[in-house]
């Protein structure tokens, strides 16, 4: 067993590693390629950063490719992203031509790798049109949708669907997100990596360093939302919730920390709106962090009393999972994958408004023993359901089931 697998075994137990070996043995020699649009920033890149090495540690032939695009392309795909999450969006013909052109260019660059691969995972909408350039593809192609596409803009969905129906299967994070498609639709929630810099245990001294670094008072309660500066994450609503709760808890501090990603051109605009809403309140700490600030984010989450993720649309909400892994109660928007993770009184609270969030902040700050109990339950819940090893088991079983579509059960020996 490699050192990497040994490390995971210490966290998840021997049984899961045993499962991984058995499925991986059935996939030996199968060439697997994942394609997305950014090498860092955002949940997809974070998952692939660990999924690929873990696959290789199991002896699988797995690789990760990133398509290249320009700002016009990424503006178009960001509009797709917003449209998939329900925002009514008009996308010009010229933007669509750019989208198709960039996909065509990347198809030529990736042709030697994708043409003969047995399994190809295409992540999200940016590279979705690659499939149009591989009519003679050898393998099974799977489109992986990471966003909440339950109520997409009809025009954009109709356009993207023309490409997506050509895939052999799709993956959505939740059944609510699944659109009707003429191929198998697998349901696989994403995951976090318990051994990554963002989620590993940190020494208390390292956590303590973030207080002077960001001018946070360690003696006073602190709540935080760690997210990209994105309209659907509702950072303004978080500030409103904080302001309402602060009337009752005057010593409350709020941290809004996030970064941008190369494929998200809206981040700067939202950041300015957030700074304006904070009105120079010294207890609101707005931190625009570089993409590699994993240990800082880890320390901020561990230093927080409560984790907020007040999204109004959410694919899954990995920051919720991260907060739960660190034994923190989570107050989350009653949307998307947050609904799967946050269960009232078990792992945190679901809220629909800034007022609802403020009430739950007050409640949790009032009862430290409940915070602790909820935190313990949340960590166990993540361990059982949302770690990267489970995610890889799901991906590998999907590959096997695609190869045996008619059987109700598959048995490994």
């Amino acid at each position: 067993m490699t050192d990497m697998l040994h490390d995971y075994k210490a966290v998840v137990g021997e049984g899961v590693i045993n499962q991984l070996h058995q499925i991986a043995d059935a996939l030996k020699g199968v060439r697997i390629v994942h394609v997305n649009s950014t090498p860092q920033g955002g949940g997809v890149a974070e998952i692939l950063e660990k999924l690929i090495p873990l696959s290789k540690a199991l002896g699988l032939d797995a690789r990760w490719e990133v398509i290249k695009g320009d700002s016009e392309f990424f503006q178009c795909t960001k509009n797709f992203h917003n449209a998939l999450q329900g925002k009514r969006t008009l996308i010009s013909d010229s933007a669509l031509r750019k989208y198709e052109e960039i996909n065509a260019n990347n198809a030529e660059i990736l042709r030697p790798i994708l043409q003969d691969a047995e399994i190809v995972f295409i992540h999200d909408q940016q590279p979705a049109a690659l499939i149009n350039h591989f009519p003679e593809r050898k393998g099974k192609w799977i489109w992986r949708c990471h966003v909440d596409a339950s109520n997409p803009d009809r025009h954009v969905w109709r356009y993207l669907r023309e490409s997506i129906v050509k895939y052999d299967a799709s993956i959505f994070s939740l059944d609510d997100f699944a659109q009707k498609l003429p191929h198998p639709i697998y349901l696989i929630p994403p995951s976090i990596d318990p051994l990554s810099e963002k989620n590993m245990e940190l020494p208390p001294e390292e956590i303590a360093l973030i207080y002077p670094r960001f001018n946070i008072d360690p003696q006073r309660p602190m709540i935080s939302q760690i997210s990209r500066f994105d309209r659907f994450k509702d950072p303004i609503g978080v500030i409103q919730a904080y302001q309402l709760a602060k009337k009752f808890k005057p010593d409350l501090q709020l941290v809004l920390a996030g970064g941008g990603a190369p494929d998200d051109p809206e981040g700067d605009i939202i950041l300015q709106e957030v700074q304006s809403a904070a009105k120079e309140d010294p207890d609101i700490h707005i931190l625009f962090l570089p993409a590699d600030s994993h240990r800082t984010i880890n320390a901020l989450q561990r230093a927080s009393d409560i984790i907020i993720q007040k999204s109004t649309k959410e694919g899954f909400g990995l920051t919720v999972t991260e907060g739960m892994w660190k034994k923190k109660p989570v107050i989350g928007g009653n949307v998307g994958g947050i609904r799967l993770q946050v269960v009232n009184y078990h792992t945190g609270f679901l809220v629909n408004t800034p007022e609802g969030a403020a009430n739950r902040i007050r409640y949790l700050l009032q009862y430290p023993e409940k915070r602790q109990a909820i935190g313990e339950t949340g960590k166990q819940f993540v361990k059982e359901n949302f770690l990267i090893t489970r995610h890889l088991v799901d991906y590998l079983t999907l590959m096997v089931t695609l190869m045996r579509p008619d059987s109700h059960s598959i048995e490994f020996n």
């Binding site: 045993n18 109520n151 059944d175 498609l181 349901l187 089931t401």
Partner: protein
């Protein structure tokens, strides 16, 4: 006691979950979809809940009943659906028919029906079970005491819940294996049969099985 019985091979499993893309927002829609939906959905919504990332609902033991209660707010329907024991049906189509009968009856009784918000629609999902071998074998019944506490919750699901679907007699795998020793363990088989698995999380179910086995082999014999 037979000495030629094969050892009990401990298995593990996961469910690969597949959406049908079909969903229902009202009871009439639900009935119409249920009538023709892939039979794997019936299996999944009766048994699959145990392996889903969720906290166990102690009141409703299948997804249909839970939806009737939580979303349609029709507790009469929820109670009738919740009492259906899937192990009583030898064929999944008979089980489907039984669920449809309950819904039809309720449709006849009521003059109006609640609808659900889109985010609370019932989504029809099916699953494939993926079964793994493990390094563990149980050579003699007494060894159940040592091995069962170490089994994963998914192993417990496979051997105790999924087994009842696979067995024509509706028995769990432990009981089927114990029967291969003749009548020596009929009392233990009877006690295992009295466990109602739908009220437990898998962790609690494992504890309950361990308690029964331990009482049988140690406390009751001492």
């Amino acid at each position: 006691m037979s000495t030629t019985t094969s050892p009990f091979l401990v298995k593990d499993c996961v469910l690969s979950t597949i959406s049908t893309g079909e969903h229902a927002g009202t009871l009439i829609e639900f009935r119409d979809k249920l009538a023709t939906i892939h039979e794997g959905c019936i299996y999944h919504h009766f048994w699959g809940g145990h392996l889903r990332p969720a906290f166990i609902d102690p009141e409703y033991h299948n997804d249909f009943a839970a939806w009737a209660h939580h979303t349609l707010h029709d507790d009469i329907l929820a109670e009738r659906l919740g009492i259906i024991d899937p192990t009583e049906f030898s064929d999944i189509e008979l089980l489907r028919r039984a669920v449809l009968e309950v819904i039809e009856e309720r449709l006849d009784e009521r003059e109006f029906f609640y609808w659900s918000k889109k985010q609370d629609h019932f989504h029809f999902v099916r699953s494939k079970i993926i079964i793994f071998s493990t390094p563990f074998q149980i050579a003699a019944p007494f060894d159940l005491i040592n091995i069962v506490p170490t089994m994963s919750t998914h192993s417990i699901f496979y051997h105790f819940i999924d087994a009842k679907r696979r067995s024509p007699e509706g028995l769990d795998d432990f009981s089927i294996w114990l029967k291969s020793f003749g009548q020596d363990y009929d009392d233990l088989i009877h006690k295992l049969r009295l466990i109602d698995p739908y009220f437990f999380s898998l962790v609690e179910l494992r504890k309950e099985i361990v308690k029964i086995i331990t009482n049988y082999f140690i406390k009751d014999k001492s």
